[in-house]
């Protein structure tokens, strides 16, 4: 009997984690991969299972199709969002391949933040925010100035860049914050218009909320939605949640499905939001969504579980945590989803483990990426394995035997502990000590992820948000009244 063959599309830390999870399958698959960089972790797993490693553009349907035709995989797993947006899934499906990963149309749920928000309002999915989309940056600037306390986003998913929060935590800052938002809108629109031509809207301006963030990743075949354990990402570049936005500097998960600062009900409600979304998507585009769909959520004082954005994929770094949490056969799960048979799949997780992942990035990420590129980097994997941790390669490229940074988060370490987050976090610190650049270039990471101080901070915030949203719920207050002297009563209706 010939071996079951898998083709992985993408070469980042997320795809490394997926490859690792898939490689553990009892099916003993042969794994091949295609990416524009050479990821040493994925390469090794491909070689170890008699698979092939293709250098090509994961976003180019033709490149991926060529690889698929050469391998003739039983399953193609698309990791990153950009190949989804550019229709790699569509092309492969047309040619008869079985694909884990939504079509270009379905992946609009991530690509187009306006589409996602609109869907939520149209189908009354809880956890929605007030927003407005704009083609013309002048209009957007004017609006941002008028509403205030807003978040400015590129309407198109832009790889975790471009979002800025212009918080008016106090009214005396309104003028400054609004002017800053308005001038930023225009600059952002210029950048986005130049970079992306595949979406009409340029800018989304939405209401700002506060609370504790977490990610709920799920796998779906368009009929059933299977939630995975909740993972909390850390988007700020620096400790104490300071600094610019990144794609995520590390994450924590466990024990079991729910993090200590969330409740069982909040987990269920979050799952419900994603379920309703999958259903709404079907009603909207008449297509079954196949793949991973994740809710990047925030526990807010208004709704409780609130949706910040969707991913049409697994989160990175979030998926890395699951390397130590999934007991059942992950390949079987992805395959079942792709074949629309998820209802019979039983997910088995490690209930008693705390997992901390931390990303290591070369200085310059994300604000001055040019500086961060091209530094030789070395990882002492043995030491890290001895600590019981895993290494996931991300923004690196193996060039003529030398491992070079590509300017993004280079490497993630993932560490489990039976005792708690603190131990896992300290293990990760030790693991990171054996990652070094060979030119002495500075690497940065967050020492506070998983620390008791940070967790206490989260617990406190979550408790306050919970008190507030529970009160609102108990009174059924989903229509907000505001009185603006001279203008009159303003009503915001979140109930319809």
């Amino acid at each position: 009997m010939s071996k079951f063959k898998v083709l992985i599309v993408g070469g980042g830390a997320r795809e490394h984690a997926l490859t690792l999870l898939i490689s553990r399958s009892e099916i003993e698959p042969s794994i091949s991969a295609i990416s524009s960089n050479v990821n040493p972790g994925i390469l090794r797993l491909c070689e170890g299972t008699n698979g092939k490693y293709f250098k090509g553009k994961p976003t180019d349907p033709n490149d991926v199709l060529k690889a698929a035709e050469e391998v003739s995989p039983d399953l193609v797993v698309i990791g990153p969002e950009e190949p989804l947006f550019s229709g790699v899934s569509d092309t492969l499906k047309d040619k008869g391949f079985i694909v884990f990963g939504p079509t270009a149309r379905a992946s609009l749920i991530e690509k187009d933040k306006g589409f996602a928000r609109n869907l939520m309002w149209k189908y009354k999915i809880p956890g929605r925010l007030r927003y407005k989309t704009f083609v013309d940056p002048e209009d957007a600037a004017e609006y941002a100035k008028a509403v205030g306390d807003s978040v400015v986003k590129p309407a198109r998913q832009a790889g975790g860049r471009g979002v800025r929060v212009f918080g008016e935590t106090a009214e005396h800052l309104s003028k400054i914050a609004r002017e800053a938002a308005a001038s930023y809108v225009k600059r952002l629109a210029d950048v986005i218009k130049k970079k992306y031509k595949d979406i009409e809207n340029t800018i989304v301006v939405e209401e700002r909320v506060e609370g504790v963030e977490y990610t709920l990743m799920t796998v779906t075949d368009g009929y059933d939605v299977l939630p995975l354990p909740i993972v909390e990402d850390h988007p700020h570049l620096y400790p104490w949640d300071l600094g610019p936005e990144t794609g995520g500097m590390g994450s924590i998960s466990g024990p079991s499905y729910i993090l200590p600062f969330l409740t069982e009900d909040e987990f269920k409600e979050s799952s419900k939001i994603v379920e309703m979304t999958v259903k709404a998507l079907f009603d909207e585009i008449k297509e079954r969504y196949v793949g991973a769909i994740s809710g990047q959520m925030m526990l807010t004082s208004f709704w409780g579980p609130t949706l910040i954005e969707y991913y049409a994929r697994f989160g990175d770094p979030e998926i890395g945590n699951l390397v130590f949490m999934i007991n059942s056969d992950f390949l079987e799960l992805l395959d079942a989803a792709a074949r629309k048979k998820i209802s019979s799949y039983k997910l088995n997780i490690n209930e008693n483990v705390y997992v901390v992942s931390k990303a290591v990035a070369p200085e310059g990420y994300p604000l001055e990426r040019e500086k961060a590129k091209g530094h030789p980097i070395a990882v002492d994997e043995n030491t890290i394995k001895k600590l019981g941790c895993e290494v996931l390669y991300g923004g690196v490229d193996l060039v003529n035997g030398e491992l070079l940074t590509t300017g993004s988060r280079a490497i993630e370490v993932v560490c489990p502990s039976k005792k708690g987050f603190e131990e896992a976090s300290l293990l990760a610190e030790k693991a990171i000590a054996s990652i070094k650049t060979l030119d002495g270039y500075r690497l940065i990471h967050r020492w506070d992820i998983g620390s008791p101080e940070h967790l206490r901070f989260r617990l406190r915030k979550a408790r306050l948000a919970r008190l507030a949203y529970m009160r609102r719920r108990s009174k059924g207050l989903f229509i907000i009244y505001d009185w603006i002297p001279g203008k009159g009563l303003v009503v915001f209706d979140y109930s319809s």
Binding site: V163, R164, V165, F166, G167, E168, T169, A170, H172, L173, I176, A177, A180, S183, Y184, R187, H236, L237, Y238, P239, W240, D241, L242, G243, P244, E245, E363, G364, Y365, L367, E368, K371, R442, I444, E453, F457
Partner: protein, 405 residues
């Protein structure tokens, strides 16, 4: 008597506009503020009076500021790299600025920590290469809190209220012997073990705003609790409690709550919340200002036994004025003076305050004589141990070198 740093990660933000409110949040600490603003690779310095009508800071993406007279700013440049430092304490801001300008921060921080005179000091600094640094000396006399404003900025300040006023969220207090330095692209901390958390007790008693945290302690709750504690040590019955505006009000609330006696407003200010003790004015002007701050509410205290609660007694001038007024205008029956802090008998060896020992009433006179001067029937002080016990639970063994044991 206070430090501030704001650093924005995007150069399009104008740190000066946010820092305006941060400096307003420090102005209860003094009447003159020196600042340095980082704009491109230029550093501009200047001074403002935050109590004056119209002032603003120059444009830039990072600001440091220090409240005079205890804080000052030093500037230096070396091979085109410029640095500015605002420091509090015995360290020399110019010397530190020189070090920051001439070598890598990593190496410099070590050197700064190794100099003993820097132990009681705190400073914030900026360099023209877009670096910032915040430092708290090993004995921790001067606190330094840290906060963040979204993805936009990082803030440091002596207490937390200025951080909140700049839109930030208060997150952390530097440990004694800890320094944090960073830029748009990196963020490091330097942490020498074995620092002592001898945060200045004067911060809690008088200097900080009641809406601040200082080194992790909620100042309002500290003051209320001291009021309650001194009430437990005071047996006499009183009919009504008053607090001496402004600082003493939380103490008076705590005292009244503990005693179960009503708290009344006794005085209304005509000139706002001016801090007469810190104002750079002559003795004569101070007396005038005091008088304008204390216009008595009529009738409320006639023939009553009252407890007058104050946060501390420095010269005794305020209390004297208050009591004489109540005696003269409302013929109060008994006056119990409740001081919610230990006696202040010396100036600060670390320069937290610049009190003149000759003017300290508790240093010169015994309680009997003070009572006679104030025209009080009773004088009660908060025992030092009460304050120590409270702060001990926060891991703080406060510096009280200016107080009697």
């Amino acid at each position: 008597m206070g430090l501030l740093l704001s650093f924005f990660f995007e150069k399009d933000q104008d740190a000066g506009r946010y820092s305006y409110y941060g400096i307003m949040g420090l102005r209860h600490r003094g009447y003159r503020v020196s600042y340095a603003v980082l704009n491109g690779d230029d550093i501009e310095v200047g001074k403002v009076n935050p109590w004056s009508e119209r002032w603003s800071l120059p444009k830039g993406y990072a600001v440091i500021a220090g409240v005079e007279p205890t804080a000052s700013i030093g500037l230096a440049s070396h091979n085109g790299k410029k640095a500015a430092v605002a420091s509090e304490g015995l360290c020399d801001p110019e010397e530190i600025a020189k070090m920051l300008a001439s070598s890598k921060i990593d190496e410099t921080v070590q050197k700064i920590f190794s100099m003993e005179k820097n132990d009681s000091c705190a400073f914030v600094g900026l360099s023209s290469e877009g670096e910032f640094i915040a430092y708290r000396g090993k004995n921790g006399i001067r606190p330094l809190s840290l906060g963040g404003y979204g993805f936009e900025s990082v803030y440091f300040a002596t207490e937390s209220a200025p951080i909140t006023l700049m839109g930030g969220e208060y997150r952390y207090d530097l440990k004694p012997g800890e320094a944090v330095y960073g830029s748009r692209t990196f963020f490091e901390r330097y942490d020498i073990k074995g620092g002592k958390r001898t945060t200045s007790l004067f911060e809690y008693i008088y200097l900080a705003r009641p809406d601040s945290y200082v080194d992790g302690v909620n100042v309002y709750l500290f003051r209320k609790s001291m009021g309650a504690r001194v009430a437990r040590r005071h047996d006499a019955n009183v009919d009504v409690v008053v607090g001496v505006p402004e600082t003493a009000l939380p103490y008076a609330l705590g005292y009244a709550e503990e005693k179960g006696v009503p708290l009344e407003l006794a005085f209304i200010s005509t000139i706002g919340r001016i801090r007469t003790a810190l104002a750079p004015i002559s003795q004569e002007e101070r007396l005038m200002a005091l008088s304008l701050k204390l216009n008595p509410v009529p009738n409320v205290f006639e023939g009553k036994s009252i407890a007058i609660v104050d946060d501390s007694v420095v010269t005794g001038l305020t209390l004297k004025t208050v009591i004489h007024r109540l005696r003269r205008i409302q013929a109060v029956k008994e006056v119990h003076v409740i001081v919610s802090s230990p006696k202040i008998v010396d100036s600060c060896p670390y320069g937290v305050n610049k009190l003149d020992p000759k003017t300290l009433i508790a240093r010169t006179l015994d309680d009997e004589k003070i009572k006679r001067v104030l025209d009080a029937d009773e004088l009660v002080w908060l025992p030092l141990e009460d304050a120590l016990k409270y702060l001990e639970s926060f891991g703080i063994d406060p510096c009280r070198r200016c107080m009697s044991p």
